[in-house]
Subunit: 409 residues, 2 copies
């Protein structure tokens, strides 16, 4: 029978409580924007704790942190981690839980004197949320060549501070040679909260993440004719909001016919001039659609293309804002996660991630997978975001065991 | 046969061109906010021109201007006029045409030595648009007791200047005793552009305005549940924008069954959080509905009340923001306008005003009516707002003849 190591519930709890103070909003959540004072406090605490258990710490040229426990042999690193920045008025689990479970797994390895051949690295990605400096997943994007570094350095926050200035001032800027790379790293694991209601609804403890779903994001535009609410007879109107409403229902009607795992959202609507006494002459709304199967995404695009060119006498147009392909994680690692969930007796299911994560960028370069734990009520990016301590600990255990499986390869 | 006096086309054109310079945006329209520099230039030009034809000028405590040609007898005044302020990037006809046609009618009376028993007064209302100081129709509202004067004086523009400060600085503040009142005034006529497409579409030269339609303005609210666009399965969603879209179509479907003269508008929509990757949890939109018959307005309210309390799993609520009753103008004056349109051979039709006008407030106090002239393309409150010179002149002729009819009463 396989040896089962267990992380420590008290230590796990202490970590969650401690880190909930860095950027505490006083209303149950945190505002911990990338490289803000609160973020630097969290980073400092991570480094202090990792040093305490004997880790060597380096940072790369994007401020990503790598805290490494030496391995018994001269082999590539096994990395695990996530991000510690948050959105404005975010919660205490998104991102940071992936760091804290990695720290707890590392601490268990040290405290239990668990032998490992490979160096084991706890990783913290800089500016995953993109809430202070656009775009999201900035630093994993730069080190995997998705984003142009000079453009990222020039990205400004609301106050006009550039990412480069904030990074220089933070003290976390290191050498480009320190970046995670395929020669020195053999694996990355990222534990994350689901940020959705599926695991909870299905009463599942561990989400075995197979990949990140592909998506398209379109903007529709409806051009009508403005006019005074009191003067233009209904039959002469070209009301862009009426057209947009019909289009939203058209999309729901047609998209609901596709595979049940498709998720799609019309989240943003902009109406012009948006005055109660004026007939709207221009309305735009976005459609975000996600599915793991590229064939289903193709069907979505076909439905978009089939939208009538005129609705309610308004001209209809659309354009793609962006898209991403489905990312599939390393099959062997996915199997390890599933095996280990079963090993501990945790209910589990295979799942695709809807949101993007740093792991999805890294997976292009290094074998990667993710572990999901349930989000109470499916809430995320808000102050009531929460995952039960038990679920956090379960996740840490599966993470630890999977790292050890990979170490034995 | 009745004597027909005619206003002068060249003079009418000169007036329109001259006043289009006060607040000229350089793009065909004007920005002439109440008591702004541009408005004061227009007021000054009105006073100069009225004095030149022998008028006595007084102002009241709201800055309303009364320029009076003496009558042969000691009788109450017959007034005509409108406002000279505009919205931001408005046109050269809304309001000001009612002043310019009144000035042209007065000038014709003087130049043609037309006898009149009653004093004839050209009136200019202060801050009709409410575009600088909220609310609209402020000064006619104060003198008819609809608005509290002290609250109006305290109304602030974007820069924090109060109406009272702007009025004091303008030099147009006069005595309260100078206000238009039922003892000293026997009639008010306001010529205005239609601000809608009906007259043009029907190839009609003069709109014989019977009144101002009653209206209701409601706000609907849809409360759903926010969630990440990539994580919440469609069947678990409570999408407030989907609910609002269905409600907009419900309202169109039901309201379209009512009388064809009903006009209604869903002009303003506010979606929260309005982010493309988040399911909307709160959407509000307004419904503005107008009809001359209170029974039809009652039917509208019944349809509003019949809206389901839940749509697309979102809670639905609504509230009345405001309403106004239908205003009927003086029937004798309406008949005079119709008779005079026919006298000059102008095509004409009876029409109700959808927008509100100062005349609607004054009509509670003094016998009142309005004359509409066509708006090209129905455009108003925008820089391309235009009425053909011919139509302006026709309106001035009908205005003049109607004043003279009233004078003979």
């Amino acid at each position: 029978m396989e040896v089962m190591f267990c992380c420590d519930k008290k230590r796990m709890e202490d970590k969650i409580i401690t880190f909930s103070k860095f950027g505490d909003t006083g209303k149950g959540g945190i505002t911990r924007l990338a490289l803000s004072e609160a973020d630097l406090q969290a980073r400092s605490e991570i480094c202090t704790r990792m040093k305490k258990i004997g880790a060597d710490i380096i940072t790369d040229d994007m401020g990503n942190i790598y805290a490494t426990l030496k391995g018994a042999e001269d082999l590539p690193h096994i990395a695990m981690g996530s991000h510690c920045d948050s959105v404005v008025q975010g919660g205490n689990y998104d991102g940071i839980l992936g760091v804290l479970t990695a720290m707890e797994a590392a601490e268990t390895i040290v405290k239990e004197n668990i032998e490992h051949r490979h160096p084991i690295t706890v990783t913290v990605w800089t500016n995953e949320e993109g809430a202070r400096f656009d775009p999201a997943m900035m630093s994993s994007g730069v080190i995997t060549g998705k984003f142009d570094k000079s453009k990222m350095l020039a990205s400004k926050d609301k106050e006009g501070t550039t990412f480069e200035e904030a990074l220089e001032a933070s003290g976390y800027k290191g050498g480009q040679k320190n970046r995670m790379n395929p020669k020195d790293y053999m694996a990355l694991l990222e534990l994350h909260i689901e940020q959705g209601p599926v695991l909870e609804a299905e009463k599942i403890q561990i989400g075995v993440v197979e990949g990140v779903v592909g998506m398209v994001n379109y903007e529709f535009e409806f051009a009508g004719q403005a006019g005074h609410a009191g003067t233009v007879p209904q039959k002469m109107r070209q009301d862009a909001l009426l057209a947009a409403s019909e289009a939203i229902l058209y999309l729901h009607r047609e998209l609901d016919k596709l595979d049940g795992k498709l998720v799609y959202t019309t989240g943003r609507i902009i109406c012009s001039p948006n005055v109660h006494t004026i007939i709207p002459d221009n309305v735009k709304f976005t459609l975000d659609a996600r599915h793991q199967d590229p064939e289903v995404i193709k069907q979505v695009v076909q439905i978009i293309k089939n939208i009538p060119s005129e609705i309610a006498k308004c001209r209809v147009s659309y354009k793609e804002l962006w898209s991403r392909k489905t990312v599939s994680f390393n099959k062997e690692f996915v199997d390890f996660v599933e095996k280990n969930a079963k090993l501990y007796g945790y209910s589990n299911m295979r799942i695709y991630s809807g949101p993007g994560h740093d792991a999805q960028f890294i997976s292009d370069m290094i074998p990667t997978t993710m572990i999901f734990v349930p989000s109470i009520g499916g809430h995320s990016h808000c102050e009531i975001e929460k995952t039960k301590l038990e679920d956090c600990l379960n996740g840490a255990n599966v993470l630890l065991q999977t790292i050890l499986d990979i170490d034995k390869k």
